[in-house]
């Protein structure tokens, strides 16, 4: 965004962003299209797109700058339109064959729907591409599915999502599934995608059809975007026979196949790579190729039967927190949260479930004080891979047997957090610590496995 001074000067000369202008300064004359200033650049610097397509910046704040409108653009209008966020209407005619299996797409924002944001200079899903725009890049979808409805409940990057947004998505998904869609495909930001995946896993009960979450690590505005392969494979998943909530994204850094991983056993494991989403403590449900080949990797999943209606169970207690126990950490953070009305905690502990037990900074007495009042503590592991064990070491027993922490089995911290909020959202459990323990140790959406299979580590 330009500074107030620049905007005023432009207004005086009735110059708008997108106009062709000539800027004269110190005897130099530069002609081009006036582009918006990104937030990353200097707000007093005019950005001109030269006829070559390049953008250059010219400082406006110094004295002796003249800017005037010149005759209309010679450069390609399409290019300018693109930068200004317009897409030509002719491109938005999406046609799907009604003979294909019907699905719906729920677009929520994220990199997959991102384009340049002139306020920050970065990419954003706030002023996102419409689903039609990013779907246009993947014409193959037309041969696979019939997208009969595109829902857009809101547009957010995943870091801006809140538990109420998960509920909103669940409602839209349930509505579409109960209206007869073969499955739903949810496009979503990736940073906290696995939280939404876990939430939907608990919220959508009696699921008989696939709910597939998909995102992109490279924005859809580049030829190398992973969005294409992800959307194609995800649409195969959405009409496939695995009736689970799951994430479908690149399996490797090759553009060859995607992993479809259960929503309660999947995590973003890399900040940047397209194969960032990995199944944790479990095999992926399937490998899916863009030609529609599906190789089941985990037979322990619900099969499609298309009968009955999906039920919504979206009661959620948002006053739960994940805390990390580590050398030097201060357990009084728990007291602070409790004073703020928090009602349950996931403690991300060391390995098998250890927290500082004996020294000055021990967590045991604080945890014990609160469990005595009925506040649940669930341990998960900072190791990410593996299972909590409450018995192997004395200190594990002190925490889980004496202080009353609930061992979180092989649940991911994020999954345990969402589950705890969901469990405490239920009236029956809210006031009954034993019921909370029982529910936390019951697998509702495949979040706790009985066996840890050796081949699942670093899959």
């Amino acid at each position: 965004m330009y500074s107030e001074k620049v905007r005023k000067a432009l207004k005086q000369r009735s110059i708008k962003v997108g106009d062709r202008v000539t800027v004269k300064k110190l005897g130099r004359r530069t002609e081009g299209l006036l582009m918006p200033q990104t937030g990353a650049g200097d707000p007093e610097t005019l950005v001109l797109k030269l006829d070559s397509g390049y953008n250059v910046g010219i400082k406006f704040k110094d004295a002796g700058v003249e800017i005037s409108k010149t005759r209309q653009p010679r450069t390609a209008k399409a290019e300018q339109d693109y930068e200004l966020g317009k897409t030509s209407k002719s491109l938005l005619k999406l046609k799907f064959d009604t003979k294909n299996p019907a699905i719906s797409i729920i677009s929520t924002g994220g990199t997959i729907a991102s384009r340049i944001d002139y306020e920050t200079g970065g990419v954003t899903g706030q002023k996102s591409l419409s689903p039609k725009e990013f779907l246009h890049n993947v014409p193959e979808l037309g041969n696979i599915v019939n997208v009969r409805s595109i829902e857009r409940p809101f547009t957010k990057m995943s870091e801006d999502m809140e538990p109420n947004d998960w509920i909103e998505i669940a409602k839209v998904a349930a509505k579409r599934l109960n209206a007869g869609d073969r499955g739903v495909l949810i496009t979503h930001g990736t940073d906290f995608l696995h939280f939404t995946a876990a939430a939907l896993s608990f919220f959508l009960r009696d699921l008989t059809k696939p709910v597939v979450l998909v995102g992109a690590q490279r924005s859809s505005d580049r030829g190398s975007s992973d969005a294409g392969l992800n959307l194609i494979c995800a649409s195969h998943a959405a009409i496939g026979d695995i009736a689970e909530v799951g994430i479908c994204m690149h399996g490797r850094i090759n553009d060859d196949y995607c992993l479809f991983s259960r929503g309660t056993h999947v995590r973003k494991m890399n900040t940047q790579r397209r194969d960032a989403f990995r199944p944790i403590n479990e095999y992926p449900l399937a490998h899916i190729w863009p030609d529609g080949k599906i190789k089941i990797k985990n037979h322990n999943h619900k099969k499609r039967d298309d009968k009955g209606k999906v039920k919504l169970d979206t009661s959620f207690e948002p006053k739960v927190a994940i805390l990390k126990a580590y050398p030097g950490s201060d357990p009084s953070i728990i007291d602070y949260y409790v004073s703020k009305g928090y009602r349950g905690f996931v403690i991300e502990a060391g390995a098998l479930g250890h927290v500082p037990t004996h020294g000055k900074g021990e967590w045991i007495s604080t945890i014990k004080r609160h469990t005595a009042k009925g506040i649940p503590f669930i341990t998960t592991s900072q190791c990410i891979y593996g299972r909590i064990n409450p018995n192997v070491y004395t200190n594990l027993r002190i925490l889980h047997h004496d202080a009353g922490a609930i061992p979180g089995e092989d649940m991911l911290s994020e999954v345990a957090y969402v589950k705890l909020g969901w469990v405490l959202g239920h009236k029956a459990a809210a006031k009954d610590p034993d019921r909370v323990r029982e529910m936390m140790l019951t697998s509702y959406a495949g979040e706790i496995t009985r066996r840890t299979l050796a081949g699942t580590f670093l899959y």
Partner: protein, 490 residues
Amino acid sequence: MAFDYKKIGLKCGLEIHQQLATRHKLFCGCSAAMQDREPVFSVTRRLRPVAGELGEVDAAAAYETLKNKTFRYFVYLNETCEVELDEEPPHPLNPEALEIALQVALMLNCEVPEEIQVMRKTVLDGSNTTGFQRTAIVGINGWIGTNFGKVGITNVSIEEDACQIMDKKVKGGTDFGLNRLGVPLVEIGTTANIPDPEEAREVAEKIGMILRSTGKVRRGIGTIRQDVNVSIRGGERVEIKGFQELRMIPKIIDKEIDRQQRLIAKKKQVSRDVRKALADGTTKFLRPLPGAARMYPETDVVPIEVTPGKLKELRKSLPKLITEKASSIEKLGLAPDLAKNIAKSPVLMELFQELSKLKNIKPAFLANVLVSYPRVLSKEYNVSDPGTITKGHLRSVFKALSGGRIGKGRVMELLAAAGQGKELKIEAGKDAGFGEAEVRRIVRDVIAANPQALSHSRPAQALMGLVMKEVRGRAPGSLVMKVLADEIKK
């Protein structure tokens, strides 16, 4: 073929790409040396059209994507990271590369933008893993002088080099090496109004000289690439890529004129193509010429401000042109070619300037040794790698020569010894130069062995050769001459 260029309305322009000799690549910490030989693994990718975003399908982009190719990218350990693999966002633009590019822009009399914005230029032929090339303008509206007059420089850009094609014959795709991807390049574009092929060649030569004058550009095959665009009245702008030798420019232009004229004569449309230059100067179709609608901002790199202070500092320390340097040392009695050979190498130039200040060193001799020692050592002394000769070796040898401790004839011998890994011991042992006493002993021995020479009309001349053979360069000729004259008098 001889054309009346004015009559046919010839207009040429040049685009020159030169790799910069930086330590790191343009947007990551990988080495830019391109030394890795064996790839460690490969990654398979596809590119997709981005029409929905570009708003309009770019001709070049559409053409390439229609082919629906698979690309295989080969990873080199020291020269590939996740940035080249399009798995990691770019790091900030390499300041070392930016500085060189700004120097070039200033040497080409360009205006430098106050804010430099990195752009993405859509490239869908697989040569960039991202589907675009990162590029930024660092200079516009420049010019250079030629014998024909001024030629405009439309832009100096800094950009990342593309992948190198390893094998085009892969089934359904192309194999690319990732080691070249991201190596910093400067791109220099001239105005497309050069009216004469010879002038085009001169412009290319001059730009090349200016680039080399920075001392910070890569040398060797493939490090500089020229494209020529050619149009004639009734034809179209056609870009010709892929030739290394500047002397080919006029021939390529003539052949392109001929090709366009034939098409026009047959009333056929000349299409806006990118064509590849072949060895005989003819060209072959590569792809349609990309339109301007393929450039959009690189959102992962923040714009870079170029302050007036920074520009002032750069202007003050602009490197001297090779031609200027050459004429300055020519004055010391060097032949023009020799002077140019010294001037075009920053290392040699520095050494020459340092060592030519020593007493009793003839600049021309010094220059000759500096330019020729690698060839002489490998050909005449069997030194397998003259690259092992250090500046230190050259300094020691020329200091010894300057101090009269050795004669000229010993220079190559000593360098050869150093090149064979022997320690340079000029002060002691058999490598030491002969003093006057030693020379006198040799002279007496030679006279004693050749008494008849004394009756020669010019005995000194008769004996000099024999004495020098014994001295073998270990004493300066002037000393030998003086002692010999002394001894003959006796």
